[in-house]
Every structure is written in structure tokens, then in C-alpha cells.
């Protein structure tokens, strides 16, 4: 039943038997999954479970040892340039230029992603208005509080209307209120049809995702909606699910 519904939807990420080895170490071990258009896909796992390596392969930064995958309809190995043009990315480290003004950051990344010159200005104003940051257009990014920067970074990541946006622990070090606001932005983007692929350490955030995968030792040990996962593992919340699965890890966290 569920499967039929999913097949009607458009697959924007499709991964089959993806593996990455570094010497004898298998960082990502034969993972397969699909992500659908407009979905908020949570990519969970303890530190060192292989999340970052898997995400790098999806973004075209790293070549898989074996297996294949496509992102936004492009082969991640052979068409990484096209993959990159169709995704947005926001890293766990802060990813805007602190010594540039807010609008200059939009201008820069808009230019890098080939957004039309004439559109950059109005779109910047529009996005700032959405955030309520109109007054900060000419401020240096370094002068803004962390929560604001994070929201800005997200806006910059989706500025070129990517098909998918990858968020690597986007809310690290941010207070609960700002995190809540940040997730509202994620929902808005998802409503517009942008697929959100997000890694997080906060299990309450995992509850906000449509579906969640949990990586343990390079494998995906569970993949389902938070509600189904909780009932499968008979857990009260995602935290218990996560501990149940990740507790069996043989790998040391880095």
C-alpha cells in the first residue's frame, strides 16, 4: 500500500548498493534508499557511522568505491557537475562569509549558481523580508547573532531554487527557539517542493522529518517514518529508537 503511493511520487535521490572504502576501512557499507520530491529526509547516525561520507558522495564531492546513485536525476559519479548545479548545501560549520555584507553573500552565491543578475536583487529582498531581516541587508555577517546567521545560510543555500538541499547538522549550537524557527523555514522550503536531506544529532528534530534513516557502522539499519519506527522498536520517542540501534555499534565515535 505504502509502496504504491511512493512509486507515484518522483524519486529525487536513488541510491543502490553504495559503498565507500578507505583502504581496509569500509566507511559506507552497501546502502540503498530513495528520497522523494518535497520530502524531509532525516539522515541519522552516531559520529563516525558514515553519514558525512555518504553525504559527500551524494553531493559529488567523493566517488563511490562501488554501487551507484543518482541525485536530481543525474548520476553522482559521471555527472557530478550537473548534480552540484541542482543542489544546495549548508554545512555544520558556518558557511557564509563573515566579512561580506548580507546582500553580498546572496550576490556571491547567486552568481556562483548562475542565478540571473536581474533576479538576484529582488530575490534577495524577498528572502530577507521573509526572514524579517530587511534592516540587516547592509550589515556584515560577522555582526549578526549565530541563530540569524544560520537562518541566512539556509536562505543562501536555497537561493537558486535547488531541487534538493543538503543540511549537515544545520542547527548545531543554536537555542531551542531558534531551532524551532529554523525548522519552520525547512517546512516552507519543503512546501515549495524542495527536497530536504538533513543530518542531525537532535532526536526531537528527527521527529519533524517525514522519514528517517539510521546509520550504524556504515549500514542503514532502519528507514521509516518516525511513527513507524517508534512502533517497530516499541519506543516512546526517537531518542529510544536511536539508542536501541546505535547502541549496537562496533565503531568508536570519532
Amino acid at each position: 500500500m505504502m509502496n504504491e503511493v511512493e512509486q507515484d511520487r518522483q524519486q529525487v535521490i536513488k541510491v543502490e548498493h553504495l559503498t565507500k572504502r578507505f583502504g581496509h576501512f569500509t566507511a559506507v557499507d552497501n546502502i540503498s534508499f530513495e528520497v522523494y520530491k518535497g520530502e524531509i529526509f532525516g539522515f541519522l547516525g552516531a559520529n563516525g557511522a558514515g553519514k558525512t561520507t555518504a553525504m559527500k558522495m551524494l553531493c559529488g564531492l567523493s566517488k563511490p568505491t562501488s554501487g551507484k546513485g543518482s541525485v536530481a536525476g543525474y548520476n553522482i559519479e559521471k555527472e557530478s557537475e550537473s548534480v552540484k548545479a541542482n543542489i544546495g548545501y549548508m554545512s555544520q560549520k558556518f558557511s557564509l562569509y563573515e566579512d561580506l555584507k548580507v546582500w553580498e553573500n546572496f550576490r556571491l552565491f547567486g552568481g556562483i549558481y548562475g542565478v540571473n543578475d536581474k533576479e538576484i536583487g529582488p530575490r534577495t529582498d524577498e528572502m530577507l523580508a521573509q526572514l524579517g531581516f530587511e534592516k540587516e541587508k547592509n550589515s556584515l555577517v560577522s555582526s549578526l547573532p549565530l541563530g540569524w546567521k544560520q537562518k541566512l545560510a539556509f536562505s543562501v543555500a536555497i537561493f537558486h531554487e535547488p531541487k534538493i538541499v543538503f543540511l549537515d547538522e544545520p542547527t548545531g549550537g543554536v537555542d531551542p527557539v531558534t531551532r524551532r524557527q529554523f525548522w519552520e523555514l525547512i517546512y516552507k522550503a519543503s512546501d515549495r517542493g524542495i527536497t530536504v536531506f538533513v543530518t542531525t544529532h537532535y532526536m526531537d528534530e528527527a521527529e519533524y522529518c517525514n522519514r528517517v534513516s539510521i546509520m550504524v557502522d556504515g549500514r542503514i539499519d532502519a528507514l521509516d517514518s518516525p511513527r513507524n519506527l517508534k512502533s517497530i522498536y516499541n519506543a516512546a520517542n526517537m531518542n529510544e529508537v536511536f539508542i536501541h540501534l546505535a547502541g549496537g555499534s562496533n565503531r568508536k565515535a570519532d
Partner: protein, 377 residues
């Protein structure tokens, strides 16, 4: 192309919004050229010389005359007792003492051996060196004169061996022995190296450290363009610096550009390319700005200062250091600048240096691109 332009503009924002960077980039060349040009000058004027002349013959008189006629020396005393030498130095009345052997001219003619001793104050080695060099040059010139006028050709070789003189080619083109002639090419090499290698590597590594490099690599901008657009602003600024240095050299230090300005700029651009590629290489090897600074400072700047011939002549070094000096790009650049700028030779004479620098640029660029790609795999 548009990507490239917005990126280069961003790079200029980085540079001009950081006061320290602007200071380093635009003021340092001026400060360095003035420091090296004036403060570190090895030029010495009005050297107080005392002379002990037991022979008082034709030859010694000729040499003494030449010395007192020179603008560098002031004969303060003719001493009669060689034991006075020490007290002269202690009281600071003389910087150098010249002692002729007895029967100087007679010995010179009959045996081909005549001795002159130069005593200087070694507590100030640079001054002592310079002073000895001046005196030696004058003695050598006088000796030539004496030989030509009086001594039969048979005895010629024997005489020259007695007075130890290392003729310096530099003298030919620098008749006043102005040290700025030597320092200007050196400072040019040093500053261009410092700005290109250090600043480029730091600016790239900073993006890695802050995390923006990751964002750039995920963007559709190709890594090669990221690298080129990071290097372009420093290339432009190095050119500005080159112009500043040349203007200062000509109008403040009075060092003329005797050769072709075009080729001087051409070879400087090749050298800037080498320095930029070294900066790129460093940036692929390290992950923190501090490490980048240390590597460009210690591994590249120190050898550049010591082994490039900028301060110490390379020819006098042990063979192992001479060998290593061949791998210092600045050495080749400085040699070329001396040829093209000071000596006014044509570009033909600097083909070797040009070739070496060009090869170095290519090799460094290839290695750093390889390293950069390897990191991404």
C-alpha cells in the same frame, strides 16, 4: 565567466576589509625597500685609515695617494710604530690600518713578492668587510698601474698572488659600490615571494578553516576556477607592488633600470607565477592558517633570504648549500633582475633564469592541482 567575476570581487572584499592584510600588502613593500635600502646599507663613508709605511718608496706612495684620494677614506695618521695599532683601535681613532712591508717596491720588482697587511675591527664584521673590500679594490687598481708601467711581463703572475684579491663583478656595474644595487633585486624577490606565497596560501587555507571551502566545492564552480580566482587578486596586487618597488628604487634609492623595462616586468610576472603556485601548493598541504604562515615563513622565506644571494653571496657557500640554492626560485629571479635591471644586459643573457623559473612555475602548478584533486577523491 560570471562566476569567476563575482568570485574575484569577493576576494577583493576580503582583502580590503582586513586592515592587517592591506597593511601587509601595500605598506610592507615600501617599508622593506626603505629598510633594506638605507638602514641595512653596507656602505661606509669617511673610513678613518692609519698607514704604516716603513718603505716610503714609489709603490707605497702611489697606493697611499690613491687611498687618500678616494672619497671613502680619510687618512688620519701615518704611524711609525706597528705596535701603535692596538691603541689606535681602542681609542677609536682608526677603523682600518694598512701596513706595508719593508722595501716594498724593491721586493715587488725583484722577487715579485710584496706584502700589505690590512687590519680592521672585527667587532663590526659588516663594516670591516666593506672597508677591506674598498681598500683591496684600490690596491688592486694601483697594482695594475704599477705592473703596467714598470714590471716586466715575466713576473706578473707572482705578484698578483701575493695580495689576496677577489675581484667582484658587481663592481663593474656599481662603481660607487652602492649597496642598494644589490638589495633592490633581493627585496623584489623577497616581497613578491612573501606576498604571493604567504597571502595566497593563507587566503585559501582560511576558507578551509572557516568551512566555506566545503560550500564552494559543493557548488557548480569548478575547483580549478576557485583556485584561479583566489590567485588573481594577489597577482594584480603583486603587480602593483612591483611598480611601487621599481618607482622607489629609481626615484628614492637612485638605482637605474639600465635594461629593458618590458623584459624586467615579464620575468617578474613569471616569478610572481612561481610564488603563487608555491602558495597554492602550501594551501593543499596544510589545514590551518597558522601552519600556512609557518610553512611559508620558515620553509620558504628563510631559505629565500639566506640562500638566494640576497644577503650572502651564494658563491662562497659550501657545495651542499650551493646545490640547495638552485631550488630557491628567488635566486634565479635575483640573478635575472641583476642582469636585466642593473647590468642592462639583453634578455638573451637571462634565458637560463627565465627557463628555470618557467619550469618551476609549471611543476608547482601541476603538483598543486594534482594534490587539490587528490583531496577531493
Amino acid at each position: 565567466m560570471k562566476q569567476f567575476l563575482v568570485f574575484v570581487r569577493k576576494e577583493f572584499y576580503h582583502i580590503f576589509r582586513d586592515v592587517r592584510t592591506v597593511m601587509i600588502l601595500l605598506l610592507m613593500p615600501v617599508v622593506q625597500i626603505i629598510l633594506f635600502g638605507f638602514a641595512l646599507s653596507s656602505e661606509v663613508n669617511n673610513v678613518k685609515i692609519a698607514i704604516f709605511d716603513p718603505s716610503k718608496d714609489h709603490a707605497t706612495q702611489l697606493i697611499t695617494e690613491r687611498i687618500s684620494a678616494s672619497k671613502y677614506f680619510k687618512v688620519v695618521k701615518m704611524i711609525s710604530d706597528p705596535d701603535d695599532v692596538e691603541s689606535l683601535f681602542k681609542s677609536g681613532k682608526a677603523n682600518i690600518v694598512l701596513l706595508y712591508s719593508e722595501k716594498f717596491h724593491e721586493n715587488l720588482i725583484h722577487t715579485g713578492h710584496a706584502q700589505i697587511q690590512l687590519i680592521t675591527d672585527g667587532t663590526e664584521p659588516n663594516t670591516a668587510n666593506a672597508v677591506t673590500r674598498y681598500a683591496t679594490n684600490i690596491i688592486m687598481a694601483s697594482q695594475k698601474e704599477l705592473l703596467q708601467s714598470q714590471v716586466p711581463s715575466v713576473t706578473r703572475p707572482a705578484i698578483t698572488s701575493e695580495i689576496i684579491i677577489i675581484p667582484e663583478v658587481k663592481l663593474l656595474y656599481n662603481p660607487q659600490m652602492k649597496s642598494s644595487y644589490n638589495f633592490v633585486p633581493g627585496v623584489m624577490g623577497l616581497i613578491l615571494m612573501l606576498i604571493c606565497a604567504m597571502m595566497t596560501s593563507i587566503s585559501i587555507v582560511r576558507e578551509k578553516e572557516v568551512g566555506t571551502m566545503e560550500v564552494l566545492l559543493v557548488s557548480p564552480m569548478r575547483p580549478i576556477y576557485i583556485i584561479i580566482s583566489k590567485a588573481v587578486p594577489y597577482f594584480v596586487l603583486s603587480f602593483v607592488n612591483l611598480t611601487t618597488i621599481l618607482l622607489l628604487a629609481v626615484f628614492v634609492l637612485g638605482v637605474p633600470i639600465s635594461g629593458s623595462l618590458f623584459w624586467l616586468i615579464f620575468i617578474s610576472l613569471i616569478f610572481i607565477l612561481v610564488a603563487l603556485s608555491i602558495g597554492l601548493l602550501i594551501s593543499t598541504l596544510v589545514d590551518t592558517q597558522v601552519a600556512a604562515m609557518l610553512i611559508s615563513g620558515m620553509v620558504f622565506m628563510m631559505p629565500t633570504m639566506v640562500l638566494s644571494g640576497m644577503i650572502y653571496p651564494v658563491e662562497n657557500m659550501p657545495w651542499i648549500l650551493r646545490l640547495i640554492s638552485n631550488f630557491i626560485p628567488a635566486k634565479w629571479y635575483i640573478i635575472a633582475v641583476k642582469k636585466l635591471m642593473i647590468q642592462g644586459l639583453s634578455i638573451d643573457s637571462a634565458f637560463l633564469e627565465l627557463g628555470v623559473l618557467f619550469t618551476m612555475a609549471m611543476v608547482f602548478i601541476l603538483i598543486s592541482l594534482k594534490m587539490f584533486k587528490k583531496r577531493l577523491a
